[in-house]
């Protein structure tokens, strides 16, 4: 009992042992912090382990503080609206659209495949075009399903033909934007183009 009785010299652990324990404790805590806690809490993931464990997006959503993130975190997508999607895995993507930037986020789908989607940006305006290109087409043809400016959209989508389907996003704000896109359905993610 180190608090009230003064222990004899022999009862105390050696200085080397104490230093070693302290260093080990700090190092183990450091490794846990960097690989698990920081990705989960702040979306900070210097080692990439957090992404591999699927923890990074939790941290990003927690810290975005946006209504979009709240909608997605509460998992409304496909949960009540359409029974067919109930037991499907939900994918959540965080898409960075830098100031003045534009990009596409796409999915490969076969004709008749269905998806339920929901996306939003925290603040600011974005121009989007939801469209699809038929597989194997080289003419540059695309079919646009919806285009507008806005902060969010949600709905279901049935692919009218086999090909690449998804969103074109263009940053219309005076700062960087982060789109959080949540999807469920039958598709293969091809991601940012």
């Amino acid at each position: 009992m180190y608090n009230s009785n003064i222990p004899t010299e022999a009862e105390l652990p050696s200085s080397e042992k104490l230093i070693k324990s302290t260093i080990i404790a700090a190092a183990v805590a450091g490794v846990l912090a960097v690989t698990v806690v920081l990705p989960s809490e702040y979306g900070v993931d210097p080692t990439g382990v957090g992404s591999a464990l699927g923890l990074k997006s939790m941290g990003e959503i927690k810290n975005s503080g946006s209504s979009a993130a709240n909608i997605i975190a509460s998992g409304t997508v496909g949960d009540e609206r359409t029974d067919e999607f109930t037991n499907m895995k939900k994918d959540v993507a965080t898409i960075d659209v830098p100031l003045g930037g534009q990009l596409e986020y796409k999915f490969d789908m076969n004709k008749g495949d269905r998806m339920i989607f929901e996306w939003a940006v925290e603040e600011g305006e974005i121009y989007y075009d939801f469209h699809g290109e038929p597989e194997g087409d080289t003419t540059g043809f695309y079919e646009s399903f919806a285009d507008s400016t806005g902060r969010s959209a949600l709905g279901t989508f049935t692919a009218p033909f086999t090909g690449s389907h998804g969103w074109y996003f263009r940053n219309e704000s005076d700062g960087d934007l982060k789109v959080i896109l949540s999807t469920k359905g039958t598709y293969k993610i091809t991601g940012v183009k």
Binding site: L18, T22, A26, A33, E41, Y42
Partner: protein
């Protein structure tokens, strides 16, 4: 021994949601903002809830009572801790002192590291000197209270009935502390009866110190990220 480690771990990881959200739950906040005037029971409840789910306070208290065998000693140290955090909880809120919660929480993490090292006999070995454990408990009690003060300021309390409500919150904090402590004390008393207590006391304190370091990394990173 294993049971104890698991219970500590369970306390640590079990409080995800509101605790890890750093601060208070949205629901509690919405509720508190509807209150104007003195509301004893809600504030006692919130105080107790905060303490029972506050793993950082619990880890520190675990360190404080680790080598206290007599109920009298437990009472003395817990009272010193309570006096410390009453002072800063009340003065912090009433004087609207606001420092980054991350810094305060990092210091609370450090208090866990300090107490574990103290229990391991590190200060006697390193400096051939035992720092006064009561003063340390009081000083860290002041920081823990300050942590509560920064969090309760997030509630954006109505000025109407502020002081009585704070006192009720504080009463709740003490009740929550006693309830949580009772659970820890029962578990540790059983463990002390076995040979594994002395054999593993050092390791358990090293493990608690690791959790203290983990809290520190967590909060320090939060300070720079947020």
């Amino acid at each position: 021994m294993l049971f104890l480690l698991l219970s500590i771990l369970a306390i640590f990881v079990g409080m995800t949601g509101d605790v890890f959200a750093h601060g208070i739950t949205e629901g509690d906040k919405n509720y508190v903002q509807t209150i104007s005037g003195v509301a004893p029971i809600p504030f006692i409840y919130l105080g107790a809830k905060h303490m029972m789910t506050g793993y950082d306070h619990l880890l520190f208290l675990f360190g404080v009572i680790f080598f206290l065998y007599k109920l009298k000693d437990v009472t003395i140290y817990v009272t010193i801790f309570a006096v410390g955090h009453i002072v800063t909880l009340l003065s912090g809120v009433l004087m609207e002192i606001s420092v980054s919660a991350y810094i305060i929480d990092a210091i609370i993490g450090f208090s866990v590291v300090y107490k574990s090292l103290d229990n391991m006999g590190a200060f006697q070995r390193w400096f051939n000197y035992q720092p006064n454990t009561k003063i340390a408990t009081l000083v860290f009690g002041l920081f823990h209270g300050y942590g509560l003060a920064t969090k309760i300021q997030d509630y954006e309390l109505s000025p109407d009935g502020l002081l009585p409500n704070l006192i009720f919150f504080n009463i709740g904090v003490e009740i929550g502390q006693i309830l949580a402590l009772a659970v820890i004390l029962i578990a540790i008393s059983y463990w002390r009866k076995t040979n594994s207590f002395i054999k593993n006391a050092y390791t358990v304190n090293a493990f608690v110190m690791m959790l203290g370091f983990l809290l520190m990394w967590y909060q320090i990173t939060g300070y720079f990220v947020a």
